[in-house]
Each structure stands twice: as structure tokens, then as C-alpha cells.
Assembly symmetry: none
Homo-oligomer: 235 residues x 2
């Protein structure tokens, strides 16, 4: 399975439009766990809190250049790094210096190429056996196996779709706590645009049909009116 689609990507660029564009393409390609940062400070904070699996760094940042950021990151994590740079600008440094980047792309670039390079780096660095698996957990009588995208229950096994998986992952990461609809939309669709509220509800319903004995009176995937949804903590 395309396991690296579940890797966390840290995206650092000061221009929101660029971030958004890259984000769009990554999502179109199936990635969902993308964290944005506009500067070094934010990037480091996200690094610490999210422990991303790979970073895409712009060379030019408001509070320091990407190279400085890289060495700060290196003090925290050995994750692979992919640089973005404008043509000419520091291109030589990227080429010449063995500064520990795993790849670099010159702006402007084809989004497709970025995705390809990124996938290549992920595949290379996170070789087969290093794989940590997506969680497997129990909910009532059902076993949810995110790694194989399936739910096993009294009625047999049912597959999970991509969106269902992304939602369940987000909910699982926050089990026992309320996750707002906004946060869920954000986790799955990324876009700051709302307008997915309805779609979210439909997906929630679908998930309930797979993990709840009585989808209409849920016992595990609860709605908290006015706040969001909550996956019951097991035990």
C-alpha cells in the first residue's frame, strides 16, 4: 500500500499562496497530513509538536534563511528535507554544499514534479522495514485497522475509503476529546474554505454505518452539538 501517503509533511514558505498551491497538489495526490509554517519560528514549533516525517523548506524566509532553519531542525530531528529556491538564488549553495538536504527544486516548478520528488525521497528514506504502522484500535465490537483500511466486526469485514480513513485517524489521535467540525474539515480537505460541513456529516454517517451497531444512535462516534464530534475513549 502507498504507505508514505500517511507521512506528515511540514511545509515552510512565507507566501500563503505558494503554500496553498503546494498543499492542493499534495492533497490531490492523496497526502492529508500537511502542516503549514510561514517562518522559522513556526516551523520549529511544528517540528517539535508534530514530528513531521519530511519537510519542504523555502530558502527565503522572513526570519532567517532555510539553511539556518535546517540546522536548527537537525538539532531536533534527522528527517529528510527538500528545498525550494528561486532560479539562480543560492542554487550553487544547494548544489555545492553538502548541507544535508535530500533534494531541491528550483522555482518555478511543476507541482507534479514536486510531488514526484517528494514521494521519491519518502520512498528512499523510509524504506520498507522502517515502517511504523497506522494504528489499529477497538471500538466496541469492532476492530478498526487503519493500516489496512478495514473494519472488522460482527458482520464481517468492511473496507474504509480514503476520506473515512483520514477522518478516523484525526478522531483517533484525539480520542476522548472533542474535535470541531472545522478541525476535521481542515484535516481532510485542508482548504481554509469551509463549505464541507455537509460533506463531513455524510462521511461521519458513513463511518457510523461501519463502526456502530446502530448508526442512528451512535455510542462511540458522538456528536457534540455546537462543538463537533468525539470518538469515545476505549476502556
Amino acid at each position: 500500500m502507498n504507505d508514505w501517503k500517511w507521512k506528515k509533511i511540514l511545509l515552510v514558505d512565507d507566501e500563503p499562496e505558494i503554500r496553498q498551491m503546494i498543499d492542493d497538489f499534495l492533497r490531490k495526490d492523496g497526502f492529508t497530513r500537511i502542516y503549514h509554517a510561514a517562518n522559522c519560528q513556526e516551523a520549529l514549533a511544528l517540528c517539535r509538536s508534530q514530528k513531521p516525517d519530511i519537510a519542504i523548506l523555502d530558502v527565503m524566509l522572513p526570519d532567517g534563511d532555510g539553511f539556518a532553519l535546517l540546522s536548527s531542525i537537525r538539532r531536533i530531528s534527522p528527517m529528510p528535507v527538500l528545498f525550494l529556491s528561486a532560479r539562480g538564488e543560492d542554487e550553487d549553495r544547494l548544489l555545492g554544499l553538502g548541507l544535508g538536504a535530500d533534494d531541491y527544486i528550483v522555482k518555478p516548478f511543476l507541482p507534479r514534479e514536486l510531488v514526484l520528488r517528494l514521494s521519491a525521497v519518502l520512498r528512499r528514506v523510509y524504506a520498507p522495514q522502517t515502517e511504523e504502522r497506522l494504528p489499529v484500535f477497538r471500538i466496541g465490537d469492532y476492530t478498526v485497522d487503519l493500516g489496512s483500511a478495514a473494519v472488522r466486526g460482527p458482520g464481517g469485514e468492511q473496507p474504509l475509503t480514503a476520506k473515512e480513513l483520514a477522518l478516523l485517524l484525526k478522531l483517533y489521535e484525539n480520542r476522548g476529546r472533542i474535535v470541531t467540525s472545522d478541525a476535521l474539515c481542515q484535516a481532510v480537505w485542508g482548504d481554509d474554505d469551509d463549505g464541507y460541513e455537509n460533506t463531513l456529516m455524510v462521511h461521519i454517517r458513513r463511518i457510523r454505518e461501519k463502526i456502530e451497531a446502530e448508526p442512528s444512535t451512535p455510542r462511540y462516534l458522538l456528536t457534540v452539538r455546537g462543538l463537533g464530534y468525539k470518538l469515545a475513549k476505549e476502556e
Copy 2:
């Protein structure tokens, strides 16, 4: 990663109508902890006393511009900042200067957009998991878990609604102290309109039914006649 809806927002603008309008929209979107300031001085005072999580600053203020205010704020706190400015006015400074603002919006703006941008900044800066969560505390035999909007007690678990949560949060922040009815209304419904006294009482009653063994003779959520309510300090 619980929600940024519980983050404290400092709103600085000299025009009360603008503040009110923004306030309304923020509340409509679920934010409740909004602090108003009309000038730099008030803003700094609130900064110190409330330690907001994010600030919305107008560029034009009676006692200095927003940029000066930002650098004063920076001496106190590294919180993210979102600027408001009239079209044209200082737009270039906002764009050009890397003055540490996290975003800016040009007036006139769609309120929806402000909320979106604000949420985006909060999401970015206050990364999940590092997040301090909403408090969990004990009251007598009951455990109040604001993060999951639930009260666990001898009789099992009961969910909390959005308003109950907002009230309990305000009371908890001031536990052991008296909170006036006005302050509570303010915290939940926003200012002016003081037609919520009765509604407040009803909500208090509902909370008591969830956290008191004998709701009619409360031991923890106490009435202080003529003044307000008080949540007993736990021990």
C-alpha cells in the same frame, strides 16, 4: 488538539462599532473569549492581565500606530498578530516589512474572511498536541472534563453543552472567587445586551444538575446573593 475556539483573542480598534461587528462574527463562529481595547494603552494592559493567545490590531490607533503597538507587545509576548488596515494605507509596510505579523486583512473585509484567517493563524501557530488542553478538574465526587465536554460522577457520565462549557470555564478560571452575573453573561453572550440574567440562571441550574448531588442545595457552585456565583475551590 483541542480547539482554538477557546483561545483568548485581543481585539484592538478605536471604533466601537467595528469591534462589535468583529466580536459578533467571532462569537457566531464559536469564539467566546474576546477582549476589547480601544487604544494601545488598553491593549497593553489587557495583554499583561489576560495573556491573550492572538491579537487583532488596527493599524490606526489614537495613541500610536499598530506597528508601534506590535513592538511593545513583542516585549511582553510572542503571540501571533493579525493586522487590520484600510486599503492603501500602509499596505506596503505590511507587505514589505517583515515585522512579525502573521497575517493582515485590508478593510473593508468580509467578516467571514477574518474568521478564516484568524483560524488559520491559530491552527498554524498553536500546533496541535503541544496544546495545553482545556482543564479537567474535580468537584466533590464529580470529575469535570472540559476537553471532552463531560462530567463523570457516581451516576455515570453526562455530557456538557456548549454554553455550559463556556460558563464552567469562566467559573473555573475564577474558582474560589465570586464571578458576577454580568461577567458570566459577558463571557458567554458578549457585551451590552443584558437580557440574559434569567437565561443565565437556567444554565446555572442545568450545570448544578450535572455536578451537584443535590442541585437545590448546592455545595460547589454557590450563589452569592446580589453579586453573582462562585465555584468552590477544590482541595
